[in-house]
């Protein structure tokens, strides 16, 4: 099975004055479509750095990164936004919604970046919000939404670009446990529907049971490495829809 993201011997060093801080010391990792992977580890272990490099937001000091079968480690910085726009959706700890735009307009913004505008954008944004259970909140501003609702809007926005990879940094940190669980279930079902690769950085060990795989990172290295190129989980057959999205069909806007 071909990986959605593959990193080999990844090293990242931040220069700080006369010394440098090495956040990643040679990481090897494959993430496959259709699986939910948790990245866990103590603060400063390199989880967010790894996520940032996988998301083409940071560049590695050395090593190779392949995203959607494309070698990106040799791309210059100007080319990286295009890779993110095409293949990756992000969900952030602080939701990162635009406070002056409504929920619907936040989703439309992603569509606008993809060149989808006007009525078509509005219709697709409405459909996406409906799929995350927020159809009635299209015209609501983020200030009038609960934490869970904001995160669902953020998920809808991340999905608006139809990415094959979803990267989330502590998506439940600002939510209560019940709401956080619901969001995680939604992200699990995203992974199992249409073969999206979902990678989540989290400190919350209560979510481990929802993951297909948990990667522990310590001091810039994976503490429990799996053999390279070996799928860890059985492949989900294409077209089989389970869980939350079985109850909310039609998250297909391709």
């Amino acid at each position: 099975m071909q990986s959605a993201i593959s990193v080999r011997n990844l090293v990242k060093t931040y220069a700080e004055g006369a010394t440098g801080v090495t956040a990643l010391r040679g990481v090897d990792l494959d993430v496959y479509r259709g699986e939910l992977v948790l990245l866990m580890g103590p603060s400063g272990s390199g989880k967010t750095t790894l996520l940032s490099i996988m998301g083409c937001i940071l560049t590695a000091t050395s090593g190779s990164i392949t995203v959607a079968n494309r070698e990106v480690s040799t791309l210059n910085e100007k080319a990286l936004p295009g890779v993110r726009l095409e293949h990756i959706g992000f969900v952030f700890q602080g939701f990162n919604l635009f406070p002056t735009l409504t929920a619907g307009e936040n989703v439309e913004l992603m569509l606008d970046l993809k060149g989808i505008r006007g009525r078509q954008a509005r219709e697709r944004a409405a459909k996406l919000l409906d799929q995350v259970g927020l159809a009635s909140k299209y015209d609501s501003f983020p200030a009038n939404l609960s934490g869970g609702q904001k995160q669902r809007v953020a998920i809808a926005r991340a999905l608006a670009g139809d990415p094959q990879i979803i990267l989330a940094d502590e998506p439940t940190a600002a939510l209560d446990s019940h709401t956080g669980r619901k969001v995680m279930e939604m992200m699990r079902d995203l992974a199992h529907e249409k073969g999206r690769a979902v990678v989540i950085v989290t400190h919350d060990s209560r979510m481990v049971d929802l993951a297909d795989r948990t990667i522990h990172i310590e001091d810039g290295l994976i503490a429990n490495p799996a053999p390279v190129n070996e799928p860890v989980m059985p492949a989900i057959p294409q077209g089989v829809v389970t869980g939350w999205f079985a109850e909310n069909p039609g998250l297909n806007f391709a």
């Binding site: 635009f98 002056t100 913004l109 940094d169």
Partner: protein, 374 residues
Amino acid sequence: MPPLARRNLFHDKIRLTVTLTGIVFAVVLIVVELGLFVGFTVTTSGLIDHSNTDLWVTSKHVPYIELGAPFSERKLSQVKAVPGVAEAQKFITQWTQWQCPDGRTESVQIVGINPDSELGRPWNLVEGRVEDLKTPDAIIVDELYKKKLGVTRIGEVFEINHHRARVVGFTNGIRAFTTSPYIFTTFKNAQDYSRIPLDQTVYLQVKVAPGADLGQVRQSIQNRLKDVDVVTNSQFSRMTQVYWMFTTGAGLAVLLAAILGLVVGFVVVAQTIYATTMDHLKEFGTLKAMGAPNRYIYRVIIAQAAMSAVMGYVLGMGVSFFVVHASQQGGAAILLPLPMAVGMFFLTLVMCVGAATVSISKVTSIDPAMVFKG
């Protein structure tokens, strides 16, 4: 595109008010100063521009109309004999003293003309007729200077340099740049009021015959009269404008004030748009993380600047129209020709978009990894 720029702009109403105040200040200051510059320029050469004259014969090296020196009036007949000359008239403008009813003395500029000629006549008459100047001791005064000279109505009698002067008419809007009002009268009266000898004149005004070549006629007169200068109306107008506006520094002063307005507007807009950008830095970082190219973000910032420019321009021009209108009854007219109003729009746009470049350079350097910092 979702209305991100518009929403960000109107989100913080206090900051928007500050931005618009800065732009309005800049627009009003620039319009007023440039309007003063245009008004002053037009005023300095008003006598020349409204003279209906093609050529001026002056004593040697006269730099502007107020500095003419007397020369023999016999040159008039010599000028009239030049082929291509349709008409020539004597013309005086000289400073002299006006005696106000309350005992004050005011400086005035006597303008002596031939009331039977179209050359050099007063314009914008609102009371009386130019022909009334042919009555004894007749003068025409501008309404703007009634209070200054103590004039209230037609028929009043005053003293100019110990000679009698009787008001027979009023004009409106004939300003003197030097603030010494023009007093139109006959050439003969002007000689008395200004103590110019009877056989002398200060200028000769020449009208060229239809079809005659202006340059050739000018040269012919110059060849015939050796100890005078012959200049075209437009040349004389420009010389007078340049002297008053730049040689004296008056024009530079108003232009500098206009530039100051531009700088103030630029700084205020740059500062407020920068502050707004900093407030929304996380959003711009999110946009970058989502894959937005830099130019997408630039569009948002420039759109904010452009919207601010349009709103500020409209408000600023509203205030400016009021100021311009109020100035029409004053000694210094502020003029706002249509090209200047249109140009002001583009200048405001350039000012605001230029000010936004400070913010653009900031967002260019945003590290999208900041979005992971909670």
